[in-house]
Amino acid sequence: MAVSKFMESISSKEFTISGEVDPPKGANRATIVHQAELLKPHVVAANVTDNPLGIVIMNTLVPCHIMQNEVGLEAVYQVTCRDRNRIAIQSDILGAAALGIHNVLALTGDHPSLGDHPQAKPVFDLGSVELVDLLRTMVHDGTDYAANKLDIAPEMAIGVALSPGVDPVEPEIMKLEKKIEAGADFAQTQCVYDTKVLEKMLDATSHLDLPILPGIAPLKSVGMAKFMAANVPGVTVPKEMIDTLKNAKDVKDATIEITAGLLHDIKELGFPGVHIMPVGMDAYVGEIISRAGIR
């Protein structure tokens, strides 16, 4: 019996689609419900981000809970090591477990210098590998990280991230191997736009027994393509994609078409699923999936 609907879907060999919800900058709960409702018909679960780039937004746990309780959409709780030490992280995990959260994605986290509070003290008591080790200890050993027994252990699938396009890729794969050894159950990747990167990723991870869901985010403009390529590590955007966007009469339609094409390729290559980061195009996720010929 899988620990979550998300893991059950992956185990069933169904093509599994996860989405992503961005917590608001502010206390606006309606935006969480709105994003979750748009995604719910199309995804098995949705990640909730943990102050990405170190930009202050709502505490990750709250949208996870609202999504699950009010919308009925399963959460993948993203946890980074940037702001909390091992005590705070374990405390949060226990709280998440009590709220019925059954998926966690273990991340190192962006450095605060990239965000809107660059003066903040970076924590990084743990890195992502040690975080996976900590989570496995709680979930599988039923103890905290200091070997003290928990009355009820959290039941969670442990996810990790992968940046498939980085060069050299070998250190990244070595790190993924450590994450698997530490207890990872699944991986979701950084955005991929290039089918060649997807093929290389399959090749580089073929020896590993880990479901990997490539990440995709709709490319909404030429500007976004250039920004992603210049600022997001390992991301390359093929020239044909940029040309398609440049020459498009209907940019939104071109965006949907490009994203659907990628999604189609991901399925054809034999990946077990995909992680869609809608970046504001939540309302079009269904159309992207159907144009990819998946449903």
């Binding site: 090591c81 091992r86 991340l107 190192t108 986290g109 962006d110 450095h111 210098s113 990239l114 970076p122 990084f124 008591d125 743990l126 890195g127 992502s128 590998v129 040690e130 080790d133 900590l134 990280y145 991230a161 940046s163 980085v166 060069d167 050299p168 070998e170 250190p171 990244e172 070595m174 790190k175 191997e177 450590k178 050894e181 530490a182 950084q190 590590p233 390992g234």
Partner: protein, 212 residues
């Protein structure tokens, strides 16, 4: 070596304005090797302060202060009694060493930056004194110091073309470690998970008993 830099002159002036000042450099110590507390710098600060109307009673270009046990042999120290304030051109250890000996206020003229070394044209941080050295596992490149997240088990997702997300002029420590281990035929050393760091070892203030 402890790398220091002189505080902005206005800050120094604010500390000592209207006071009789004695200046101690750190001659033969780190601050003189890196040109922040040697003879020339002591003389320069003395003349700039005098020029700004501060009464400089003495300016010593002798002695290293982190090993100081008394003022014997420090030129000008006989005039210490005439000073209101001592200004130290040394790292924070030197300032505290002198502050523990002097009966008058002791102020820092330098900011203590880090433990590091001259590397090409720059002074660069190389040791955070974490108390649990891993350099034998990382090709002689310190991930605690050179990775802004002090990661123990490999690069984060922020490595961009071998550079660090925090400062793209810096090489990613973990890419350097990977390349070096590969050259040394020691990549296996990166295959074992390094356990979460024991920060108890880093809990300050630290002290230990020397083995004699």
């Amino acid at each position: 070596m402890i790398v220091t830099s002189e505080k902005p002159f206005d800050n120094i002036l604010e500390m000592v304005q209207g006071k009789k000042v004695g200046i101690l450099g750190c001659v033969g110590g780190c601050a003189s090797l890196y040109n922040t507390g040697g003879k020339e710098q002591v003389e320069s600060l003395s003349s700039r302060l005098s020029g700004a109307g501060v009464d400089v009673v003495f300016a010593s270009t002798q002695g290293r202060h982190c090993t100081l046990t008394d003022f014997t042999g420090i030129k000008g120290s006989e005039t210490l009694g005439e000073s209101d304030v001592i200004l130290i051109m040394a790292c924070g250890v030197g300032v505290q060493s002198v502050a523990g000996l002097a009966e008058i206020p002791v102020y820092p003229a330098l900011d203590t930056k880090f433990a590091g070394m001259r590397f090409d044209s720059e002074l660069a941080e190389r040791c955070l004194a974490c108390g649990d050295c891993v350099l034998h596992l990382t090709g002689g490149i310190c991930p605690i110091t050179r990775c802004p997240k002090s990661l123990l088990n490999g690069p984060c997702g922020g490595v961009y073309a071998g550079k660090c997300e925090v400062d793209r002029t810096n090489d990613c420590a973990w890419i350097l470690i990977y390349k070096r281990l590969k050259e040394l035929g020691q990549l296996d050393k990166n295959k074992t998970i390094k356990p979460a760091k024991d920060f108890k070892v880093m809990a300050h203030p630290r002290k230990f008993t020397e083995a004699l």
